[in-house]
């Protein structure tokens, strides 16, 4: 009986706070029929926002994946002064509010910022959005890969070395296959974060329709302009991407558990 109550409470909590709002978005989106939704997500601004979001994620996530693997290797295998500081710094994006990240980028890259005079348009342009996205999605890969590296230990790598493999061959043939599911999981999480980021991007993008407007910014703009149907449609698109990510994560998690 107690277990049943607990289960009902847990499911009710999740339902009320998570499932209902997302379901309502989908419900309101398709309330007026598929045609309206289609029109709403195929406006030039929406298409541009979709591609921009994808483009930003495609730059930020691979960079973070490479950095994340290197950072995890340094943290787990490396011995260097300042390792604890480095470890803590990687978590900075978890700790700092995205809006602060945006403002910080503005201070560094803005017209009056440190690097403002370099002649490269960063703020109110795509590079700024990419920088903001890299910042907020940075820890995921490192945080997923590091525990896997720690668990597999370094004996396989030492064995590879005694068998004649150089550092790169050892990484390619031994380390990378061993961490692959952790890496993929981290990439999926980073991608979800990159696509969903709003705060930091909203500060640095300038929100120029068709140019520097990502999907999340489009949702906000339509909402502000009382285009509720449009906002729901764009939200549904984001939510759909999120659900695909969630499904991928669930499957990958299972694969990862099976492989260890």
């Amino acid at each position: 009986m107690a277990r049943l109550t607990l289960r009902v409470v847990a499911l009710g909590y999740l339902g009320a706070l998570l499932v209902v709002p997302v379901a309502v978005v989908f419900y309101r989106t398709f309330e007026n029929g598929l045609g309206a939704v289609w029109d709403s997500v195929t406006t030039p601004a929406a298409i541009s926002a979709f591609w921009l979001t994808l483009e930003v994620a495609l730059i930020a996530v691979p960079l973070n994946a490479i950095f994340g693997v290197l950072a995890a290797l340094a943290l787990v295998r490396g011995r260097f002064p300042g390792k604890r500081l480095f470890d803590a710094l990687i978590d900075l994006p978890f700790a700092v509010s995205p809006i602060v990240v945006g403002l910080a980028l503005l201070l560094v890259w803005g017209v009056d910022g440190w690097f403002g005079g370099l002649g490269v348009q960063v703020i109110f342009s795509v590079p700024g959005i990419v920088l903001a996205t890299i910042f907020v999605s940075l820890p995921f890969v490192a945080r997923e890969v590091a525990p896997v590296l720690r668990e597999i230990g370094d004996e396989q790598e030492q064995a590879a070395a005694t068998l004649g493999a150089n550092g790169w061959q050892t990484f390619r043939r031994v380390t990378l296959p061993a961490i692959r599911w952790g890496l993929v999981y981290g990439v999926v999480l980073a991608t979800a974060r990159a696509i969903g980021e709003f705060g930091a991007v909203s500060v640095v993008s300038g929100k120029i329709a068709g140019e520097t407007e990502t999907l999340t910014l489009l949702v906000e703009k339509r909402f502000q302009n009382f285009d509720l149907a449009g906002a729901y449609a764009a939200s549904a698109l984001l939510a759909a991407i999120a659900l695909v990510t969630l499904a991928a994560m669930t499957i990958l998690n299972r694969r990862r558990e099976e492989s260890t």
């Binding site: 030492q158 064995a159 070395a161 005694t162 068998l163």
Partner: protein
């Protein structure tokens, strides 16, 4: 041939190896024997290039190796916990060193099949390490190490993670394998019985120093000091001196130079019979007899026997200077 000259290795404040020198002759099977923390594994890893010594030189096959990375030393290394490449099949594990060396495919295949035959894993080519038993994994690891035709084979407590009966099988098997393959082999173990059974040469280490080197028989019969004597086999203490329990002589009537002692307990271990004695001063001593000897004496608890310590031991005991001799 492996030569280690005056190697010192520290980990922080801990001195793992303290001015260690050993020679391992070509084709020999040498055991580095010592309690945990004696530096035996560190010495092996220094030979392999997995650890850099703070001081001293290492030569492998007459070639200076001190500054060569592990990958260039041509050593086969076998780890206690196998270090199998879990995501690769047995075939790919064994082939690893050969594919790194970009050997032709058909050569790799025949070499791998030949090695798997040698280690008794023919037919297991397409299995994954997770589908093998511990003993099979370790034999796969040996085949993998042998595939590169290493100049020396280094085994770090290779049977330490295995069940007692599998361990006994693999020891005998390793001995036979060495007779077939003849590759210079260094085995690290803390088990003196394993070392004496498998190896032709022993290097006994303690606290990062070499205590004695020599053949198993030599080290057993002429231990350089009390530590080696106590580590290499059972000992009893008689008036402050160490003796082997099987060297103690018992008789049921007074003999010259014998003293009275009372049998406290008789332990029958099959062929061996262990007799726990109490001397007149209350001191306890353990003697070891064969079953036949014990039967003749008709030993039982509470009986009085005459105990005689063997003639003064060979000058082996307590003589220093045998340390850091060349092996062999």
């Amino acid at each position: 041939m492996i030569q280690v000259h005056n190697v010192t290795k520290r980990f922080g404040d801990f001195v793992a190896l303290d001015d260690v020198s050993i020679d391992v002759p070509d084709g020999s099977l040498t055991a580095l024997l010592g309690p945990s923390g004696s530096g035996k594994s560190t010495l092996l890893r220094v030979i392999a290039g997995l650890e850099q010594p703070d001081h001293g030189e290492v030569e492998v096959g007459g070639e200076a190796a001190t500054h060569l990375p592990a990958q260039k030393r041509d050593v086969g290394f076998v780890f206690q916990h196998y270090a199998a490449f879990k995501h690769m099949t047995v075939r790919d594990n064994v082939a690893f060193g050969l594919t790194i060396r970009k050997r032709p495919k058909d050569h790799v295949k025949s070499k791998v099949d030949e090695l798997l035959e040698l280690v008794g894993l023919a037919g297991f080519q397409n299995r994954y390490p997770a589908q093998l038993s511990g003993g099979q994994r370790q034999r796969m690891a040996l085949a993998r190490a042998l595939a590169i035709e290493p100049r020396v084979l280094l085994l770090d407590e290779p049977f330490g993670a295995l069940d007692a009966n599998v361990r006994a099988d693999l020891r005998a098997w390793l001995r036979r394998l060495h007779d077939e393959v003849h590759v210079t082999t260094v085995l690290v173990t803390h088990d003196q019985e394993e070392a004496m059974e498998v190896a032709g040469n022993l290097v006994v280490l303690r606290d990062g120093r070499v205590e004695q080197t020599g053949s198993p028989r030599d080290v057993y019969d002429h231990p350089a000091n009390d530590f080696v004597m106590g580590f290499i086999g059972p000992v009893s203490r008689l008036d402050g001196a160490l003796v082997r329990p099987h060297d103690l002589l018992l008789s049921d009537e007074p003999v010259d130079g014998a003293e009275e002692a009372m049998v406290a307990r008789v332990v029958h271990l099959g062929f061996e019979v262990r007799v726990e004695l109490v001397r007149t001063g209350g001191e306890e001593v353990v003697a070891q007899l064969t079953k036949a000897e014990a039967d003749t004496l008709e030993l039982r608890d509470g009986a009085i026997v005459w105990l005689r310590s063997p003639l003064p031991r060979d000058p082996g005991v307590g003589v220093v200077g045998k340390t850091r001799d060349a092996v062999g």
